[in-house]
């Protein structure tokens, strides 16, 4: 009954927003300053798609941003293979440029992060569905330095056709300074071509991408030769590498994706939708000279997103819908290498001892419906923004045969409300914002068979977190000073924000967590 009341309240608020006043139609432009980067997908909806040809829509001239900041998380509401604490110094510069028929976008990112309280995961992959993670039980600070670059170029062939090419590259190194110490060399490359065709009121697009990822790990023990590693197989089951002095592991993946986009534009109504498919294969291989496969995961991801924007004078009513289905299957493999000696010559032979298909399977289904009302002032600054969102998620992980191992699944419903208001104080544009959310569990189930090589506490922890009822609140304030006379710097900005979440009475205990983040930068 209580849950139903919350649901009714959320729906009422959304309907109230939809019924807001409307005014005469007027074209709304991308605002000046740092907010341009945030709200561009609402104003120029194609920029919210994965198609790089959408860049040709950015006909607002040149705009760039540079910012630096600090982020800190201290979160008990986390999966067991994620860090308890993380902190990061980061800097970003990015910008758009128009050169006649050519539109360009470029960005460069740097971050220096530290993670504490990481158990059972030396991969530095904290948000992965790959079950074949390598880790140890020695919790110590892990650090990571990362560079990322992205570039897009879109060319307008004529009034109807835009073609584009985008590329992203990431490079990172990470390490732990305590035995057993892991060193990670991480890189990824993604290229994305795209095309859009404008039929007038209707516009269609097609984009695709191919990408590759690599995470080379090397474990070393510099002290006593008595360290053990866990090669996880999913749902807390593992193989053990004991007494290691060194150990190598390589996560290598490649994928491809395709997406279709379509939009329809009316006088004051704009609709856009994108459906995409992504297939990713990642292998976990151990060894340095002969890389023996431990496991292979295949991820199929179907996503759908859509936006309906109704323009009323200086205001938008925006309804967005998102849905995705991720299906992960993991093959568990055991290989060994042998040196074959034939008297006059030797060779190395690789034998596949066991290859069990679909040993670990994960289904992750999620959807979101969000309403936003955005009101502009006469200077095209966002004066008021508020709305709400409903989210639903189903997550299932199974280790087969489930009669011998186990599974768990959770079904959650969440909602959030948010509001931001622009206040002007002299030359300063100050936008405080608040957001509150609640996630509740509607159903869950678990069955777990403890085996010799399993860590049940790990699985139950993750299960309790996945099904926890979580209340959250966040606050932010954007302080921006535009410089209308300055030819180079367009604005300076400072954005501190914080988030607090709690899961009181969860089966994993009374848990809480916070995030603080502050960035300062300039647009030019």
């Amino acid at each position: 009954m209580k849950n139903l009341t919350v649901l009714r309240l959320l729906i009422s608020l959304i309907m109230a927003g939809l019924a807001g006043t409307v005014s005469a139609a007027d074209t709304i432009a991308v605002p000046r300053g740092s907010r341009a980067f945030d709200i561009m997908p609402f104003v120029l909806p194609w920029t919210g798609t994965s198609n790089p040809a959408a860049l040709s829509e950015t006909n607002f001239g040149n705009i760039s941003l540079a910012q630096a900041g600090y982020t800190r998380f201290d979160d008990d509401i986390r999966m067991i293979q994620q860090p308890v604490q993380s902190s990061s110094y980061h800097a970003v510069t990015k910008g758009f440029m128009n050169l006649g028929r050519v539109s360009l976008f470029g960005s460069f990112k740097y971050s220096n992060s530290g993670y504490k309280g990481v158990n059972y995961n030396g991969t530095m992959m904290f948000d992965t569905r790959n079950p074949y993670l390598l880790g140890d039980s020695v919790s110590a600070r892990q650090s990571r330095e990362q560079f990322g670059m992205e570039g897009k170029l879109s060319y307008s062939l004529n009034d109807r056709v835009n073609i584009a090419f985008g590329a992203e590259y990431l490079s990172a190194v990470g390490a732990k300074q305590k035995d057993p110490r892991n060193k990670n060399t991480i890189s990824s490359l993604k290229v994305t071509p795209g095309i859009t065709y404008d039929l007038g009121k209707t516009k269609v697009g097609l984009s695709g991408s191919v990408y590759t990822t690599s995470n080379e790990m090397s474990y070393k023990v510099e002290g006593n030769w008595n360290q053990d590693l866990f090669v996880f197989l999913g749902l807390g089951y593992f193989r053990q590498e004991i007494n290691i002095s060194s150990y190598s592991q390589w996560y290598t993946g490649n994928g491809f994706a395709g997406a279709l986009q379509a939009s329809r534009e009316g006088d004051d109504l704009y609709m856009i939708a994108e459906v995409s498919y992504d297939h990713y294969t990642e292998e976990a291989r151990s060894g340095s000279s002969f890389r023996l496969i431990d496991g292979i995961i295949e991820t199929d991801d179907i996503s759908l997103s859509g936006m309906l924007r109704l323009e009323r004078g200086h205001a938008f009513h925006i309804l967005t819908v998102k849905g995705s289905l991720k299906a992960v299957s993991g093959d568990e493999i055991l290989q060994r290498s042998y040196k074959i000696n034939k008297g006059t010559y030797t060779y190395d032979s690789l034998a596949t001892v066991s290859w069990i298909e679909n040993k670990q399977m994960i289904t992750d289904l999620g959807g979101e419906l969000k309403y936003t009302r955005m009101v502009y002032d006469n200077d095209y600054n966002v004066d008021l923004e508020f709305g709400g969102a409903l989210r639903v998620g189903y997550y299932s992980t199974e280790h087969f045969p489930v009669q011998s191992y186990g599974f768990y699944n959770t079904f959650n419903l969440g909602g959030s409300l948010f509001a931001r208001k622009l206040l002007k104080g002299g030359r300063l544009l100050i936008t405080p914002g608040l957001e509150a959310g609640y996630r509740m569990n509607l159903g869950s189930d678990i069955s777990y068979i403890v085996q010799t090589l399993s860590i049940p506490a790990m699985v139950y922890h993750d299960y309790y977190i996945a099904k926890a009822n979580i209340i959250s609140a966040s606050a932010s304030v954007r302080i921006e000073m535009p410089f209308s006379q300055n030819k180079f710097i367009k604005s300076l900005f400072l954005i501190p924000q914080g988030r607090y979440a709690a899961a009181p009475g969860s089966e994993a205990g009374d848990l809480s967590g916070y995030m603080i983040d502050v960035v300062a930068g300039l647009t030019f």
Binding site: G223, N224, W225, N226, Y237, R239, Q240, E241, I242, N243, V275, Y277, D300, I302, L304, L325, A327, S329, L334, R336, Y338, I340, N341, K342, G343, T344, T346, V353, S354, I356, E357, N358, K359, M361, T363, E398, F400, P401, V402, Q403, S404, Q451, T452, L453
Partner: protein, 401 residues
């Protein structure tokens, strides 16, 4: 609206196809048949205890064969080992079959053939301490290894001429010392030093229900300046010592009798070393009337490693000469491979780590007149307790479960 509906249906159909086309790994039926040794009378053996081990996941299942001599179970794909044990009035029956895989298609019929060993008592390895210990500075120390031999019979046994060999291979690979059909050879390859108790025949008696210790170095490792204060053992009272004279680096404890070094595969090794990761060890006697000098002079008693260009000659011991053997193996489940024939040891035992100051000890089966009778079913998996604090010269006064 109609177009939207069609579009939605296509999306949902695609999603359904994505999730329904793959099924998770399944269980498959397996039938296990246990066979008596040839000449036993019956062919298929009923009431045999079957232990199924998934060598990848570590799962274990216990079954008993029915009156037809078979047992059935549903298992997942993977690599398995089955061990069979049965006890009669006169014999221990053991069998082991390795490298079995569950096939998802077709039938899975697995066989295990039993080998009989007499219940008459004799010399057994009571305790083996091979893992070594850590020093205060964190270094590795393995000079405190020992092998303790126990007279499990009612009669005096003379140790003169009793030989000890450590078997090869040592590592985490399967043995290459196999017959063309893949079965383990009848002759067991020994590596490093092969030792023998000296004596003329009746110089070294071992009384019933007593033991003797063969030390790597017969010193009090806890207090000796050359020892390790963190060592768990005092071996100053050991009767026998593996003193390796040739490289000139081994310490000779004068109170202990030095073993005869019959042969070595490595003249540079400074001491007799049971690898800290576990290794098969056998206690054997040469055939009656054959002295050790004559034995080692005969090249037919040696072999090079099959398939290897290495000229190293390994000392070969026929399994029928073995008095007792214990297969100490690696701690990792998926790296344990059988190296000793079933008739010598149908199982294996292991410590959980190297340099952990722990030993493996045979279980006490009975206490008679206050003295222990150790369990010897010819299967060290069932007969031994692993990861105990070493207790040389000591014998429990209660039965181990």
């Amino acid at each position: 609206m109609k177009k939207c509906t069609i579009f939605l249906v296509i999306i949902l159909a695609g999603a359904a196809a994505l999730t329904s086309c793959e099924k998770g790994a399944q269980l498959y039926d397996v039938t296990i048949s246990a066979y008596y040794p040839e000449g036993y009378g019956d062919d298929l053996a009923s009431d045999v205890n079957i232990l199924i081990e998934n060598t990848i996941s570590g799962q274990k299942f216990n079954l008993v064969t029915n009156t037809l001599g078979t047992a059935e179970m549903a298992l997942e794909e993977g690599m398995y080992k089955i061990s069979a044990t049965k006890e009669t009035d006169d014999f221990y029956l053991n069998g082991i079959t390795e490298n079995l895989t569950v096939q998802p298609t077709g039938t899975n019929n697995w066989d295990v053939h039993l080998v009989a060993t007499s219940k008459e008592g004799g010399l057994v390895f009571k305790e083996i301490y091979y893992t070594g210990s850590k020093t205060e500075s964190g270094s590795n120390y393995y000079s405190d290894q020992f092998h303790e031999i126990y007279n499990n019979s009612d009669e005096v046994v003379y140790l003169d001429g009793l030989c000890f060999g450590l078997t090869t291979p040592l590592g985490s690979t399967e043995t290459v010392w196999v017959n063309p059909d893949g079965s383990i050879m009848d002759r067991i390859p020994c590596t490093f030093h092969v030792l023998m108790v000296p004596g003329t025949g009746q110089q070294y008696p071992l009384q019933p229900r007593t033991s003797t210790v063969l030390a790597m170095d017969a010193i009090d490792h806890k207090t000796d300046p050359l020892g390790n204060p963190l060592s768990p053992v005092n071996l100053a009272g050991a009767q026998f010592e593996a003193f390796i004279e040739a490289p000139g680096k081994d310490t000779d404890a004068p109170q202990a009798t030095n073993m005869i070094v019959m042969y070595t595969t490595s003249a540079s090794m400074v001491d007799w070393l049971h690898t800290v990761n576990g290794q098969g060890v056998i206690m054997f006697r040469l055939p009656t009337g054959l002295d050790w000098q004559t034995f080692v002079a005969n090249p037919d008693n040696f072999m090079t490693q099959p398939g290897s260009t290495s000229q190293t000659q390994y000392f070969m011991v026929h399994k029928d000469w073995v008095v007792d053997g214990v297969e100490c193996n690696r701690p990792e489940e998926d790296k344990r491979f059988k190296r000793l024939p079933t008739s010598v040891d149908a199982g294996m035992t292991w410590s959980l780590a190297s340099y952990n100051s722990k030993s493996v000890r045979r279980k006490v089966e009975k206490i008679l007149d206050g003295k222990a009778i150790y369990k010897d079913s010819n299967n060290s998996y069932n007969d031994f307790i692993n990861d105990l604090d070493p207790t040389p010269f000591e014998h429990p006064t209660t039965v181990d479960n």
